[in-house]
C-alpha cells in the first residue's frame, strides 16, 4: 500500500516536472535593454576618488572644529623671569627669547 503510494507520488512529481519544463520562464520584459541597465549600474560602482573625498568631508570638518577649539583654549605660559622659564621646562624658548632680547 505504502509502496504504491510512493510510486504514485513519483509519477505525480514527474508530471509536474515534465509540465514545468514545457513552460520556459518568460524573460522578454527583463531582457529588453538589459545591457544598458547593467552598464549604468557598473558606472555607478566606478566613482572617482574625489567622490570618496566628499563623503569624508564631515569628518574633516569635525576634525577642523576640534583643532580650532583646542588651539583657542591653549595658552602657553611665558613667565618673564628667565630662571622661572628654565624651571618650567621651556628652556629653549626662554633662551631664544633671552638672547634675542624679546
Amino acid at each position: 500500500m505504502n509502496d504504491k503510494r510512493r510510486d504514485r507520488r513519483d509519477v505525480e512529481l514527474d508530471r509536474y516536472i515534465a509540465l514545468a519544463r514545457q513552460a520556459p520562464p518568460d524573460i522578454s520584459g527583463v531582457e529588453r535593454n538589459f545591457e544598458t541597465r547593467v552598464m549604468a549600474r557598473i558606472r555607478e560602482t566606478r566613482e572617482p576618488w574625489y567622490a570618496w573625498a566628499w563623503r569624508l568631508a564631515p569628518v574633516f570638518l569635525a576634525l577642523a572644529i576640534l583643532l580650532a577649539g583646542w588651539s583657542m583654549s591653549y595658552s602657553p605660559v611665558h613667565p618673564a623671569d628667565p630662571v622661572t622659564m628654565l624651571a618650567s621646562g621651556t628652556q629653549e624658548v626662554a633662551l631664544l627669547d633671552y638672547l634675542t632680547g624679546e
Binding site: 510512493r6 507520488r9 513519483d10 505525480e12 512529481l13 508530471r15 509536474y16 516536472i17 515534465a18 509540465l19 514545468a20 519544463r21 514545457q22 513552460a23 520556459p24 520562464p25 518568460d26 524573460i27 520584459g29 527583463v30 531582457e31 538589459f34 545591457e35 541597465r37 547593467v38 552598464m39 549600474r41 557598473i42 560602482t45
Partner: protein
Amino acid sequence: MCALGVPVAVPDEDAELVRTAIAGDDEAFTELVRRHKGTVLRSAARFARNPAELEDLGQETFLRVYRDLRSFRGDAPFGHWLSRITVHVCYDALRKRRREEKDVSLEVLAAPVADPSTGNGPSAQLARMILDQAMSRLKPEDRLVITLYELEDRSVREVAELTGWSETGVKVRAFRARQALKRHIGGDDER
C-alpha cells in the same frame, strides 16, 4: 548550445571581448552582456519569484562577472564560467530569502495535475506555479539541485561543475531533494 546550455559558437570572440573589457573598453563588456543575457536570465528565472527579482539576479550576476573579470583564465569557454557565477548568485539569493518563504501557503497544491501526454488538465504554467510553491519550501541546496538536475535536465557531472559539489554529493542531494519535494507536493509535510 553546448552541454551546459550556453552558446559556444564563438568562444574565441568571447575571450577577445574579455581581454578588451579588462583593458577598459565598456563597449566590449556591453557586447558580452548582450550575447549572454538570455542564458543568464533564463537560468535565473528558475529561481526568481517575479520580474524585479529576476532583474536583480541578472544584474548581480553581471556585476560579479565585471568585478572578477581578471580572474577568468580562458582555459574553459566564457559561458561555462558565467554559468557557474549565475548559479552561485542564485544560490546566495535562495539562502538569503530562506526565512521569508517558510510560511508560504500551499493551498494551490490541491490542484490536480494532468498527464502531459494526454494534453488535458491544467496548463504548464499552472504546473510550474505549483512546483515553484512546493520548491519554495525546500532547503536552498535542495532547490538548487532540483532546478539544475530535474528542471534544466542537466547531468550529475554538469551540476557538480556548476555548484562545486562532488558528483556523489550531487546524487545524494538530488535524491533527498526529490523525497522532500514529493512530501511537500503530497501534502505530507514534516514540520
